[in-house]
């Protein structure tokens, strides 16, 4: 049974049928999936959801699908870890990490949005799927398309990490890199989607694709025991996930799965691609695009499609936002790895670095619950930290060589390279 009613323009309210459309013909505003919440409220309960398999489809009444899901049988339902050692370092008692570094099958939050988009692509009868991507979306589209038996063509800016090129091509995707940044890729893909009618998951399937991001928020609430956190910190690039997590929390209230609970939602950007933070700090809702320049390539977007809605969601919730420099991002990646055993990509380092700033500024207090959102895996972005780790010691396979360095190892000091 479907609980979806139609598509509706977020700006002017014009309604459209459920089709591969993403832009309002009257005002160019984004189209958003509309649901019959009264019907959903009658159909779902904590018990029915809790009894379902551990994947993102356990919230299917709040996702824009009719029949059986065609993708993502193991996507979503990633761990929410209580981060005790990191919390102790930061002076927080209730710090949680939502860990999408282990999302199935491509190790980022993009497995959520793509599961929904591929299901809709199959519904609409497309045989080729495509995307404009900084890398994580690329790998997700390639992998989910392969399993669904669809062809995929992936567009990325030149200079993305090798793990993202190899990690897309391996699934049989045709990868095209564009001389330019993500914003150039996105503009070209908008024109291609318009001219050739391919299924671009983040362009003409965007209203459905973005709904998948809500599952990140649904899971946080369920995993906290059907409660909302006091704070959640999310990275912002194109601006998909943050407003959708806000929507997820509101929907859970609307359909009666959580009761009350005020939450503040905070935005994290890399300093080299922070148009939303600049607008937030200036107090304007006019976002001036920038040319991105940061090691956090997965969030290096200078002209965010949904930046306006990020600002609105942050302000409505009473949240805030900050940006992190490249060195701060690397320090935070290392801190998370050293204290919690989680290796985040630079977007995750950005999010943690910003959380630390919000704590220092008193915006997050010691006894409040905080979720830091880690949306991608560091194993895909080794280049970002390769120069920032302690280089391995190299010794011969002789015990006396080890004897010579033994004293230095306990306290972690670096020394005695190649001691004989």
């Amino acid at each position: 049974m479907s609980y979806v009613t139609n598509l509706k323009c977020r700006e002017c309210g014009q309604e459209y049928p459920i089709k591969p459309l993403h832009v309002c013909e009257d005002c160019f505003g984004p189209l958003e999936v509309n649901y019959d919440y009264a019907k959903i409220r009658a159909a779902v309960s904590r018990a029915t959801i809790a009894a379902r398999p551990h994947n993102l489809w356990r919230y299917r009444e709040l996702l824009p699908v009719d029949g059986e899901p065609e993708a993502g049988p193991f996507s979503g339902f990633t761990p929410l870890l209580q981060a005790r050692r990191l919390g102790a370092e930061l002076g927080l008692k209730k710090l949680y990490i939502k860990d999408d570094t282990v999302n199935h099958p491509t190790l980022s939050y993009k497995d959520r949005v793509v599961s929904v988009a591929i299901t809709k692509a199959r519904d609409f009868g497309f045989t080729t799927v495509s995307c404009a991507s900084t890398g994580n979306l690329a790998t997700a589209v390639a992998a989910h398309a392969a399993r669904a038996g669809l062809k995929s063509v992936i567009f990325m800016p030149e200079g993305v990490e090798a793990g993202k090129i190899v990690g897309s091509s391996i699934y049989g995707a045709r990868v095209i890199t564009i001389r330019g940044n993500y914003d150039d890729v996105n503009r070209l893909c908008s024109e291609i989607a318009d001219k050739y009618g391919w299924a671009f998951v983040n362009i003409n399937l965007r209203p459905y694709y973005t709904e998948g991001a809500k599952t990140f928020g649904f899971e946080v609430a369920e995993q906290l025991g059907w409660k909302l956190p006091n704070h959640i910190v999310l990275p912002t690039a194109g601006g998909t996930i943050l407003p959708k997590v806000a929507k997820a929390f509101k929907e859970f209230k609307e359909v009666g799965l959580v009761h009350g609970g005020e939450f503040k939602i905070h935005c994290a950007q890399a300093a080299g691609a922070a148009p939303v933070i600049h607008a937030l700090h200036k107090g304007t809702d006019l976002i001036t695009p920038v040319k991105p320049d940061t090691i956090a390539k997965s969030i290096a977007i200078g002209n965010p499609a949904d930046g306006f809605y990020v600002l609105r969601a942050v302000r409505e919730s009473g949240g805030w936002g900050e940006m992190a420099s490249d060195p701060e991002i690397i320090d935070a990646i290392k801190l998370l790895a050293r204290t919690e055993g989680i290796f985040a990509e630079p977007a995750g380092g950005t999010t943690l670095a910003v959380a630390i700033k919000l704590i220092a500024a008193g915006r997050i207090k010691a006894d409040e619950s905080v979720v830091v959102s880690i949306t991608g895996n560091g194993y895909k972005t080794l280049e970002a930290v390769a120069q920032s780790i302690e280089a391995p010691l190299v010794i011969e396979a002789r015990l006396k060589d080890f004897d010579a360095i033994y004293e230095s190892l306990g306290d972690g000091k670096r020394s005695l390279k190649g001691a004989a």
């Binding site: 993403h22 832009v23 984004p30 908008s190 671009f200 983040n202 362009i203 965007r206």
Partner: protein, 92 residues
């Protein structure tokens, strides 16, 4: 100053379904004024009541976002390409 203007699907009802039209003007704003003469109804889809570019419209002059140039006052030369692209797209 004739230029080529790429028209996205939502605006093609003003151009008889055509995806590329000719227009003239010495600035992007002048080109939009000319488009309005040739295809009435287009200007209000592109500009708000204050005559500024709408929030969800991007305009590219020879591939460059005009917000990185001189906005609507960006100078247009003979033979330039202008592309109108809905802003709502993408997501990493």
């Amino acid at each position: 100053m004739p230029v080529r203007v790429r028209v996205p699907t939502p605006l093609r009802r003003f151009t008889g379904g055509t995806d590329e039209v000719a227009a003239a003007g010495e600035s992007v704003r002048a080109v939009i004024d000319d488009l309005e003469k040739r295809h009435p109804g287009m200007r209000e889809r592109l500009l708000d009541d204050n005559g500024e570019l709408r929030r969800f419209v991007n305009i590219y002059l020879n591939g460059d976002d005009i917000r990185f140039l001189n906005q609507l006052n960006s100078q247009v030369k003979d033979g330039d390409d202008i592309s109108i692209v809905p802003a709502i797209a993408g997501g990493e």
